[in-house]
Symmetry: C2
């Protein structure tokens, strides 16, 4: 399979005064810049577009390489020529979410009213709010109906909400390792991460831009995240009780075990690439997510949806356990929707949606083929 | 069932110069004070004694009430007249571990060489090291052979090690919700907690006594702990998505969900009752624990053991999952030891060993009766 080669992030701005976006909280926000990337070519009747939603700490850079980078985008094994989201056939779009820190408007952006970064002056945004500017992007690109929307983890929350908010806007929807409402344990894990960040004296109530970043709190938050992304089994297979110093424990508080070193490394590298306030805002949006919030019932919540669904879960995912996907499938089916579901056996935990490329690719490409309009494909 | 009423912690000191204890790390430590409590009466031939080992953040105060306290000791539903560890029949002992902060020598104790608290000058102690002063206590009480030793979680690690180190010293051993070696996930969860404490600027490399304690780091560490002590199901049953403000989310970073409030409360109250350095030392001792360290093999590791075993695990315990108890049982049986095992169905997660009193009591009292010497019972 070929690579996408070099790709570039693009930007578009909506909601400029006086057309600010009315958020779910009642607050208004504008202007809103959306950072996005596209891969492949939009066909003549614009019927081959796929919108991919990213997870909590990902971004618009889903595939290909940025100039000079050695690592490709976060879902590169799934997106490209001949891959599951086949850019020889489809036009794939991925945008950074509202509230993020990778080019779209978020707490690190400049507040036009103060000339300073928003910080905690940024309004709390919900998954629903995040969908709106992405819909504006799709309209801006002149796409009336997407062939597919897809997302894993947080991305799956956006995809569900989108399918309900804009039922006429997509043929199909792929939901991977996700759920319909955050449970107490999911909220609890996020709250500990938030407390770790907000306890760091360098956080300074969110006013740390151009000063010292709350690196220690962020590192701890990321370490917690990483434990939840792996399974007990995958951690044990990868690290077990392997030691940093040959066969010898130090009897001190330096790093003895490889798993400690790995977590520290992941924690420290995350600090450099992600904004602490964005972590607070996005994790909060996830915790607020409850599809049954207004209807009180999941079947009722999915009622407006019209597209076909593919629901993928992974056996060892304990952050978004398969039973939660099953509840989703049941509610979709109760609405007489076209639903395919698959539980993929994997020991990789929640991270499986980024790692289990082979099995996922088969299922995804098979599903997508159903919605292709052959006559209009860029290449046949 | 009657209560034990008011109980008192007692103290005894061993290893005074020049008889310092040689630790596994090669360092020496002394004097060592052991804080302990006893419940019931030792019979004439001293054959009715049971030694109970506590978990990570517990202490010698296992049952009864301290003068003026409204809450009893940590395992009070299991220890007392007519209870599982029946103090009408048995003499029950519980001692605070070496490295702890509830009366036994630990990092908050005064270093006789400096006149200051040890802090990080305290040597790293292992589970094996913790057993030694408790054996001195048993010798000091004139008990040649215990009727039983028992422990849940960290207490189970001490009990296993004891059964191997002092095979002639006990008739039986009860291991609850525990395992034979800390896995990568268990190490990882502890390491995040340690990083949270050590990242708190008030920790000051362990020199915070009589200054500001590292309360924020400790609270985060405890919150992580609490999530691991509960199961996903018990969290959802207890809290679900229940809100603090009636039916309304705040769209801000204050406490929205009850589960957030609960964790904050548990975190903050913990700070007042536990020493941060002790948390570092004890969690490190748990992580160093590997019964196969010297033998490379679990069956071989249990070879010196001679007593009868009861192994109890709980279905929803994901911190010390039942499969780990099963490995233990298999290795014990391979040594032709007298082993009983039970998996108790429970939704309470790891905390089940403190909560599932009825089922546990039946199993424990039934097992203990086998080792009673009727003729010598205090009361018949």
């Amino acid at each position: 399979m070929a690579d996408l080669g070099t790709v570039k992030t693009q930007f578009v701005t909506f909601c400029e005064t006086p057309n600010e976006l009315l958020l779910k909280s009642g607050e208004k926000l504008g202007p809103i810049t959306v950072a996005y990337e596209t891969y492949g070519q939009l066909n003549a009747d614009k019927s081959n577009a796929i919108l991919i939603f990213h997870s909590l700490t990902s971004d618009a850079h889903a595939a290909g390489f940025h100039e000079g980078d050695k690592k490709p985008g976060w879902w590169d094994p799934m997106i490209g020529p001949g891959k599951a989201f086949d850019t020889d056939k489809y036009f794939v779009i991925c945008a950074n979410v509202l509230g993020g820190c990778k080019g779209s408007t978020g707490p690190a952006s400049t507040n036009p009213k103060t000339g300073q970064p928003y910080g905690l002056g940024f309004p709390v945004v919900t998954i629903e709010d995040m969908c709106v500017p992405q819909k504006m992007l799709i309209d801006h690109l002149g796409i009336k109906k997407l062939m597919n929307i897809a997302g894993g983890s947080m991305g799956g929350l956006l995809a569900q909400k989108w399918a309900i908010m804009y039922p006429e806007s997509t043929e199909s929807c792929i939901l991977i390792a996700t759920n319909t409402r955050h449970t107490a344990q999911q909220i609890a894990l996020h709250e500990v991460a938030r407390q770790a960040i907000m306890s760091d004296p360098d956080w300074e109530n969110g006013v740390y831009y151009n000063r010292t970043i709350p690196a220690r709190g962020m590192a701890v938050a990321r370490m917690i995240g990483h434990i939840t992304y792996m399974s007990e089994k995958s951690m044990d297979e990868k690290f077990g009780r392997k030691l940093m110093r040959k066969e010898k424990v130090g009897y001190d508080f330096s790093t003895d075990f490889e798993v400690e070193s790995y977590l520290k490394y992941r924690g420290e590298s995350f600090v450099q690439r992600f904004d602490a306030n964005s972590y607070l805002y996005l994790s909060k949006a996830l915790d607020y997510f409850d599809l049954t919030e207004e209807t009180g019932d999941l079947i009722e919540a999915f009622k407006p949806a019209k597209c076909a669904f593919l629901v993928v879960s992974f056996s060892s995912d304990w952050l978004y356990p398969p039973y939660q996907s099953q509840q989703m499938v049941k509610a979709l089916k109760a609405n007489d929707l076209d639903v395919s579901a698959i539980l993929i056996e994997s020991s990789y935990g929640h991270d499986a949606f980024l790692i289990e490329v082979d099995n996922q690719s088969k299922v995804v490409s098979h599903f997508l083929q159903r919605f292709e309009k052959k006559s209009n494909a860029v290449r046949s």
